[in-house]
Symmetry: C2
Subunit: 324 residues, 2 copies
DNA sequence: TGACCGAACTAATACGCATTATCAGCGGAA
DNA sequence: TTCCGCTGATAATGCGTATTAGTTCGGTCA
């Protein structure tokens, strides 16, 4: 339409007509005119084939991205991810095709995986398969995990929440209120976040010089034995906290007068409970933002960034001095 | 690695070694073995270049996909879209790169648009630029709009909410309760959804043989004139309903004893208001699902499907008989 | 013995672009 | 007239795949 070669169009389109390569202003204008008229846009697939990049960031989540059930765990992360992607001029590719196998969680790699269509990838999920991580590493696919991850055949780039100091601070606060016997309820393993919370608890009670026990479940709390004189419970997850409060109430115990409860999980919107737990705020939106920023950085300069963001303490109404 | 040509790998990979083309079982197995060992996956970009399809569906929204503000208007749609995309084995490409220009809304097309990377596209938003729609049509890009859209240089494929019957039913219900003077508050234009709601109202009052007025804002409601004896108000949006309730309360009017209010907008989770408005439920999740189904259908068989899904009436507590 | 055939692969090509090397044309200097 | 250098453009190539049109080779049949 402009009477020029494909090369010339490409040069004009990519603004290379000003530097090294020379295209006369008249020709350039003629090409631009046609582009304007037709609204021609280069095929992104062909472009990607040549340029090796897309400005597309993949987003992989281990459960559905948009959870139908109210507990929208991922939502705040995604808000941050989208904000930052928009600023960076990137599109987001959600790997929704990764079907959930029978009883299994989603896996990143499959025969149909479109992961290589993206320049890089943001990983989201409480836990992530070690194998997936190590394969990402060995294949050299740029990615950033939201949430700290242990090494998987090499250091994993991540932006996580800094649980240990937050939990330690809460233990300190409880100790300052007079609590001397504390319990951590939860597995303390599995996800890195759980291990970090338990570690913070363990370190915290040691620092404060108080007694701390680790219980697997809420039911152990009210039996006889060492746990029976606990005055404050640190619940691994918000749900654990809610369960403990429920059991306590059923036993006629008042929270926090008879038993203080600190929730270490994400205080999502009040869904399963409307209790205003003491605990901390996981900076999920910021983590999402930062993950995208770090991914951009990895794409441009490489490296293996690892960052932990501070959690802001939440006063709440479930932590009070123990009964004298 | 398998000692065969690229062609052979391609044939084996795509399972064409069984039919027309012949590859010996031994060779086939050898290739499969290498694929298994290396985890080789064909480059999606190169594949797309040849095959003209991707199994990637684009999702375009006119505001941020993940709204930071509570009123997550899009969320239920996206739940449905994701569910269906997962079933169809498709990934979702969110066009987050479409920057919001100064004071403008997002536009679909730009010099950088990656829209052609997707096989087709789902459109989401209260209103969508006519120009964008007509360009989608003229360029022959397969798409389905969530929400009814007027023609834009041709019929637009959509799955919408069927407002007119729902509004008519609500008018009937109000009339049955004894209301004789009704008002519609809202623009009644701009978005197709608004026009549909007003149309339903107008038809409804005509059918019921009652009086109906159309007011632009809540403030007109309480002045003198024809609107002063209105006993039930149909609010175009939930926010309008909340505003009306607020003003009514300030004037010492009881809702619904002195004034009934029907909200025609999406009853999202109680955010700005905790009033349980009478109205209807927009089947947003179903609309999202159906949009993806229709897009798949368009991609396979073409056509211009147009569907309206019924809205389920919501009893609520703001519609009662007028004072005698 | 040579034409013929089918089985099992592969060379070549197209997809749409970015990029590199090359080329035509032209004015000026030797 | 010849040669040189510069301008302005293009032919050719590669990216990684799917597909089509061969090609090779060992046997069959007349």
């Amino acid at each position: 339409m402009a009477g020029v070669s494909q090369t010339t169009v490409s040069l004009v389109l990519n603004g290379r007509a000003e530097g090294e390569v020379r295209i006369s202003p008249e020709t350039r204008e003629r090409v631009l005119q046609v582009i304007r008229e037709t609204g021609y846009v280069a095929d992104p697939a062909a472009r990607r084939l040549v340029e090796r990049r897309n400005r597309i960031y993949g987003v992989f989540t281990y459960e559905a991205v948009f959870p139908a059930e109210s507990a929208d765990f991922y939502h705040p992360f995604l808000v941050g991810i989208e904000e930052c992607a928009e600023e960076a001029g990137c599109d987001l590719l959600l790997f929704t095709s990764a079907k959930v196998e029978q009883g299994e969680r989603r896996r990143i790699f499959s025969a149909e995986s479109r992961i290589r269509l993206a320049d890089g990838c943001v990983l989201l999920g409480r836990t992530i398969h070690r194998d997936d991580l190590s394969r990402l590493l060995s294949e050299g696919i740029p990615f950033v995990s939201v949430g700290r991850r242990d090494d998987a055949g090499g250091p994993v780039p991540y932006v996580g929440a800094d649980y240990p100091p937050a939990v330690r601070a809460l233990v300190r606060r409880a100790a300052a209120l007079g609590h001397r016997r504390m319990a951590y309820v939860g597995s303390g393993q599995g996800a890195e976040s759980y291990a970090d919370r338990l570690r913070g608890f363990t370190e915290g009670v040691a620092e404060a010089g108080v007694e701390g026990v680790h219980l697997a479940g809420a039911d152990e709390l009210f039996g006889s034995g060492p746990a029976s004189e606990v005055t404050v419970v640190f619940a691994e997850e918000l749900a654990d906290g809610a369960a403990i409060a429920e059991v306590a109430r059923a036993r006629g115990l008042d929270v926090p007068r008879d038993l203080s409860i600190v929730a270490l999980g994400a205080p999502t919107r009040p869904v399963s409970t409307d209790i205003d737990f003491a605990g901390f705020r996981i900076p999920r939106r910021e983590m999402g933002r930062r993950a995208v920023e770090l991914l951009t950085q990895v794409l441009e300069h490489g490296g293996t960034p690892q960052e932990l963001l501070a959690c802001e303490l939440v006063e709440g109404s479930t932590l009070a001095p123990p009964r004298p």
